[in-house]
């Protein structure tokens, strides 16, 4: 309809398609140079061979791919990365929902300040944040001391293992989840909750039967985003995993930065892309189901 406003001006000279091409050219250029080309290049890289000493050669072969796909370690890696990421996504959702709902219901300067606090973790360096976690979670940390004060003889290990990674990732993904949830809370018309209340639904029932279904699209979006971010994060797993937690992204990091096996890093990256493709398909399925 509104195409008119613009296309009407240039019906003969360009046409709507021409105008669109002109407007889209810059972003297409950035996308091509900054995304498409690099990805294709990465795919190419995954077929290059490297020598035993780690030197990269100009020979192309399927060696990396066949080794990667036959290695049970890689398959475990994919399975555990997907599993851990799903679990973290769920935790993040549970932890973020009350905050998002509270933010949705607050207003004014208070809301502004809270919004900044929500994104504050993103502003702190990952290593610095890890120091925060050490003070809280380590064997001599605040939590352990509290548990011991409560009489627990040997508090559980809370960091430098999978538990630590899950705690740390959940926390750092919360800002993203909260923002996504908030964007989905638009459908949450307070009138609907009031309607449920006047129909005899208790606040808890209203929450389950009205609020939750209505915010489902926001939850789906946030979950997709968090899953993607979780499976591709490597800084936090490295810092809090104590070298014990292996995920696709940390492996990509090790191969790309430590071992310098770029073909393998590239192949693993391609696998991550495929997992994302699958997640996206599932997401749009879920969304269609919700809508």
């Amino acid at each position: 309809m509104s195409a008119l406003v613009l296309s009407a001006s240039a019906p003969r000279r360009l046409g709507a398609l021409g105008t669109a091409s002109l407007l889209l050219a810059p972003i297409a250029l950035v996308n091509a140079i900054g995304f498409l080309w690099p990805v294709v290049n990465l795919l190419r890289m995954s077929f290059r061979e490297s020598t035993a000493t780690g030197a990269l050669t100009d020979v192309f072969s399927l060696a990396t791919w066949s080794a990667t796909l036959q290695d049970s370690f890689t398959l475990d890696l994919i399975a555990s990365s997907v599993g851990v990421s799903l679990f973290i996504t769920l935790l993040t959702l549970l932890a973020s929902y009350p905050i998002a709902l509270y933010l949705h219901r607050s207003s004014g300067l208070w809301r502004t300040v809270l919004m900044v606090l929500v994104v504050a973790p993103l502003l702190t360096s990952a290593v610095v944040r890890t120091y925060g976690w050490i003070a809280i979670l380590s064997d001599r940390g605040l939590v352990a001391n509290a548990l011991m004060a409560l009489g627990m003889a040997e508090p559980p290990r809370l960091m430098f293992n999978l538990t630590g990674v899950i705690i740390g990732l959940t926390e750092i993904l919360m800002p993203y989840m909260i923002l996504a949830l908030l964007s989905g809370f638009g459908r949450l018309d307070p009138r609907l909750e009031e309607a449920a209340l006047t129909l005899g639904a208790t606040p808890l029932k209203t929450f389950w039967r009205v609020v939750v279904p209505l915010t489902a699209p926001g939850m789906a979006l946030g979950s997709l985003l968090c899953f993607v971010l979780a499976i591709s994060s490597f800084v936090t797993p490295k810092l809090l995993g104590g070298g014990r937690v292996f995920l696709l992204a940390t492996e990509i990091y090790d191969q790309a930065i430590v071992t310098l096996n770029w073909p393998l890093a590239a192949a693993l990256s391609m696998i991550v892309l495929v997992v994302f493709g699958a997640a996206l398909v599932l997401y749009s399925r879920a969304l269609r189901h919700i809508a």
Binding site: R187, D189, R191, L192, E194, A196, T198, L199, L214
Partner: protein, 364 residues
């Protein structure tokens, strides 16, 4: 000696309606949205809340439903004070102006929701929901989503959803404001029938005078958060207690005048105005004014005024004239008979109306 039950005493003290509002007040910061509202509604009665935008109609309804706490005052239903009772225990049905249907449920689930909350067995609930849907003539649409229905249909679903739980009190907040004239007529009749049939006590909020007058047993006219007048439609229309009520309910001509010694002067005519002194407003409804071309024989039982036509408008059912007379412009209305010619602007005419159709108020 017969001892009155404590409950009865309470009822006697607190009011004689099934639903009683006692000094109901709501303040926002320093703005008073609803100001000391007192009202009694008998069981099975339908009261219309009528008033201009922002006068506090919605706020009153929301307080009654328990969605907004009152700043002070009490809501008493059947002798029980509802202060502190949450909305889901009030057994009221509220039909929102915006419908507020659950977008993620189909029509059947929407209507069955309230029964579900009351732990009615699923089968019975669906059965009764189907009946309610039939009652608002939407059978066959049970599995549509709200978004797939037209505004009028959604409106009816909202009504069915509120009615199916047989609430003791039904609150309707401008339930027809989004419909066109024809559908509005139909729905109005329908709501009235259902309410009568089920014997539900109801409050109907509207800012449309005609709607208020036709649907209810009594009209409560509100302005600036206060109750201006409570009465039957006839009382409100024929005996408006204030200038505001006279002007808001039905069309009206306003003539500025002065009163002294029980007599008011306006537009060159003398009106009886016992008890008024100083500036007054004299009001007459356009359709109570007779209009005659040329001059008319003097009739001391009528107020009469000579003037000239300024504008004549054919409005289908009625003819409207604007007549310059007595230094102002006076509107008149007459039913069309079909075939009559409009008087041209400039035609001299005589206006006449009965003293009993004249209202006098102190100027505000």
């Amino acid at each position: 000696m017969i001892r009155a039950e404590p409950k009865e005493i309470q009822r006697m003290v607190q009011g004689h309606g099934f639903l009683s509002l006692r000094g109901l007040t709501r303040r926002y910061d320093h703005f008073t949205a609803v100001d000391d509202l007192n009202l009694d509604v008998a069981r099975g009665e339908l009261i219309a809340f009528l008033g201009p935008s922002g006068c506090g109609k919605t706020t009153s309804l929301r307080m009654i439903a328990g969605l907004v706490p009152s700043t002070s005052g009490h809501i008493v239903v059947d002798g029980k004070d509802l202060t502190g009772v949450p909305p889901y225990r009030r057994d009221m049905g509220l039909v929102f102006q915006s419908y507020a249907l659950f977008p993620h449920m189909d029509i059947l689930k929407n209507v069955a929701f309230g029964l579900d909350m009351r732990k009615v067995p699923k089968k019975v609930a669906l059965e009764r929901a189907r009946e309610a849907i039939a009652m608002v003539r939407l059978s066959g649409r049970e599995h549509h989503r709200p978004a797939q229905l037209s505004g009028g249909q959604q409106q009816r679903v909202a009504l069915a959803r509120a009615l199916v739980v047989r609430p003791s009190i039904l609150l309707l907040d401008e339930p027809l404001s989004n419909l066109d004239a024809q559908l509005r007529d139909e729905m109005r009749t329908e709501i009235r029938d259902i309410q009568k049939r089920l014997g539900i006590t109801a409050i109907f909020v509207t800012h449309d005078q005609m709607e208020a007058l036709t649907i209810c047993d009594k009209v409560a006219v509100m302005n600036h958060g206060r109750l201006e007048q409570l009465g039957t439609p006839h009382e409100i229309y024929e005996h408006p207690r204030t200038a505001f009520v006279a002007g808001f309910v039905g069309r009206i001509n306003r003539l500025a005048g002065r009163a002294s010694g029980g007599i008011a002067q306006a537009a060159g005519i003398t009106f009886s105005a016992p008890g008024f002194e100083g500036e007054v407003e004299v009001m007459v409804r356009p359709h109570r004014i007779g209009l005659q071309a040329g001059s008319a024989p003097a009739d001391s039982s009528l107020h009469q005024l000579a003037g000239t036509v300024v504008r004549a408008t054919f409005a289908g059912d009625i003819l409207e004239y604007e007549v310059a007379a007595g230094g102002t412009v006076i509107k008149t209305e007459a039913s069309t008979r079909g075939g009559e010619a409009l008087l041209a602007p400039g035609t001299p005419v005589t206006l006449s109306w009965r003293p009993r159709d004249t209202f006098v108020y102190a100027a505000s």
